[in-house]
Symmetry: C2
Subunit: 386 residues, 2 copies
């Protein structure tokens, strides 16, 4: 096992009818900026529950944070937060709203002269002050509710980049799985795939003798595979919805990543597909992952073989053959829940996409993956096969 | 899955040569009371490493905290902490030192007229203020390094009771598995059994549809069973030591207990055996657990059967039969690592012990276990069979 530091101070309030606990977790003196997305919270009752819980609080609203949250949009919220002397941010919505709110938290306390996107995302300057934030998370997918990072896009430059800071943990996250009963099927599927790939990015690298972390990662994958058909068959199955949500949170709260190498190349390539073609984040991951695993099969063979045996019950004793079976089982699982896994399914030309990504990665001189061996040319090969 | 709240803000610094990171985690202005046990840290080099890391800090020492830390001893440290205006506690040692230091943290900020043991342990009054604390933990066993509780004994009344408070989380815990290379075999074994039983107390109850928590609990048990023979065969096996330590920490940091019922009757009965006869905590648990599981087999059969199949590879399809096999496999595992599991192995008369425990539990009117059905009479039956 590698040396590690672990720190995750977010309080999680999980279960039925927990939105009502908002008031006991935010000081009444706070001036709150409540952020949300396209308005689904007004249809599913979450908006009303939040407003009721915060009756008597001083709350300003900022709606309209889009999926793959845009810097250009978020800066309007930053302007409000600064002007109105907001001292608490409450994100109500999915991972995009929360990621965006983390950016608002940092940018609202940045008073330098640079463009905030350039400063935090491109130059990766550390956050030294941030507004406190919390959330009512409504979509099991990104895990943003229990980590300190986010991903933000900038329209002006077709960019989608990630940032992190210990100052950006939510103070608390409220997770009521009941609010996911009304999720569109597509979002449910995207979230399951996103969680699955988060786990793969942390598990599927090379062996460092970390049996506990491995067993926990594989435990999430097994649970997703068991519970996914249940939520698709019966969207109101509370236990299945709760299990899927807890998998999503634990998929990226650092519990499975301590002491092990990490990959994240599927995400980095997927982000570019989203930036160029506007496909959903989950879709981009489902397209890239199987091809990336095939391309990197030899160096990932031990972990892939273990996954094949412990998650899919494969009895093949030769690691490389078991690895092949793991990759096809993963793609079969994605397809079985209705997630398409080829660029052609989205009318995207694989060669063109591969060329675009090679050009962008070349200009940034990237070397992705746990061994830094996924160069622009390797990314080209991966996307071409997609 | 049941509703839950989770909060664990302790920073964990894990790995080789991490004691040197003390200084970057404690403000130089702090007046530190460094607490430790019987002096093993002076033999294994940990004391020197800590003193070197804290060169230039204002540090007072308090040694001599015993296994099953005694209220009477701890109050001497409280007196020092109050008199010397200590503002940071650093526990260096095992779970007993750390549990004791948590009590010191609370009692040093208690200025009422009651006896602090009566106030916090017997009456269970909430801690409203406490000195900040951190630790260099040297023994994988109690999990105290990443939770907010402790267990303290009072000689005067032959009592051993537990306390908890969100104010008693260590700010940080340093875990260098190398410091366990020199552990006496007995302590290594005690720690493995303690961890195993912690997991059982949280896993082995009744089914609430919590597949992720179950798989993580069973992952710890499997890892303990795989790694225990390695550390016993080669005490300097770093990876095995690291895996055992991380199992111990994760066995009681609330990660596996969220949203599920908990038992803890084995611990409550074991505490009495320790209080009456002075046997080690791990020994008491190894004696009680198999008998308690047999006694409660019917209500725990689903979880025991799952454990039999997923941890011990048992292929029995009838739950009650698989449950029997799980119980004998657990006792076999304890015996295989050199842990005795009968009261007679310690020259204790089972009937006498059973009578004493029944008398004490009767006087407290206890009803233990996840269903509250382990009354004084049931505890008598369990101990009599031990």
């Amino acid at each position: 096992m590698n040396n590690f530091e672990f720190y995750c101070p977010t309080k999680v309030i999980f279960g039925k009818d927990t939105i009502s606990e908002l008031a006991s977790n935010i000081d009444k003196s706070k001036k709150i900026l409540m952020t949300y997305g396209g308005g689904s919270i007004k249809k599913n009752g979450v908006y009303d529950q939040v407003k009721q819980a915060l009756a008597g609080y001083d709350v300003i609203e900022f709606g309209g944070i889009e999926p793959n949250p845009k810097y250009e949009t978020l800066m309007k919220a930053v302007e409000i937060a600064k002007r109105e002397n907001v001292d608490f941010l409450l994100a109500v919505g999915g991972g995009s709203t929360l990621d965006g709110t983390k950016f608002i938290a940092a940018a609202s306390k940045y008073f330098g002269e640079k463009d905030a996107y350039d400063y935090f995302m491109v130059e990766q300057n550390p956050v030294v002050d941030a507004l406190p934030l919390a959330d009512v998370i409504t979509l099991p997918a990104t895990g943003s509710e229990m980590n300190n990072g986010g991903v933000i896009s900038r329209i002006a430059t077709d960019e989608k980049l990630a940032f992190h800071s210990p100052l950006l943990y939510p103070q608390f996250s409220i997770i009521d799985p009941q609010v996911t009963f009304s999720l569109p099927v597509k979002q449910t599927i995207n979230g399951i795939v996103d969680t699955f790939v988060h786990v793969m990015e942390q598990y599927c690298t090379y062996e460092v003798n970390s049996p506990l972390q491995d067993s926990w990662a594989l435990g999430i994958l097994r649970t997703l595979i068991e519970e996914a058909p249940k939520v698709l068959a019966n969207p109101n199955d509370y236990d299945a919805r709760a299990n899927i949500f807890w998998c999503a949170t634990c998929g990226l709260n650092y519990w499975i990543s301590v002491g092990v190498p990490q990959d994240w190349a599927t995400h980095m390539i997927g982000h570019e597909l989203t930036a160029f073609y506007g496909i959903d984040h989950g879709q981009s991951l489902a397209i890239v992952l199987p091809r990336l695993l095939k391309n990197q099969k030899i160096s990932k063979s031990k972990k892939l073989a273990k996954l094949a045996r412990e998650v899919f019950g494969v009895e093949e004793s030769v690691d490389l053959k078991a690895a092949d079976l793991a990759i096809s089982e993963i793609e079969n699982f994605f397809n079985s829940i209705g997630m398409k896994t080829k660029l052609s399914d989205y009318d995207i030309d694989a060669n063109e996409a591969a060329e675009k990504i090679r050009a962008r990665f070349s200009s940034r001189n990237v070397a992705l993956g746990e061994k830094g061996n996924i160069t622009a040319d390797v990314a080209f090969d991966i996307v071409k096969e997609a």
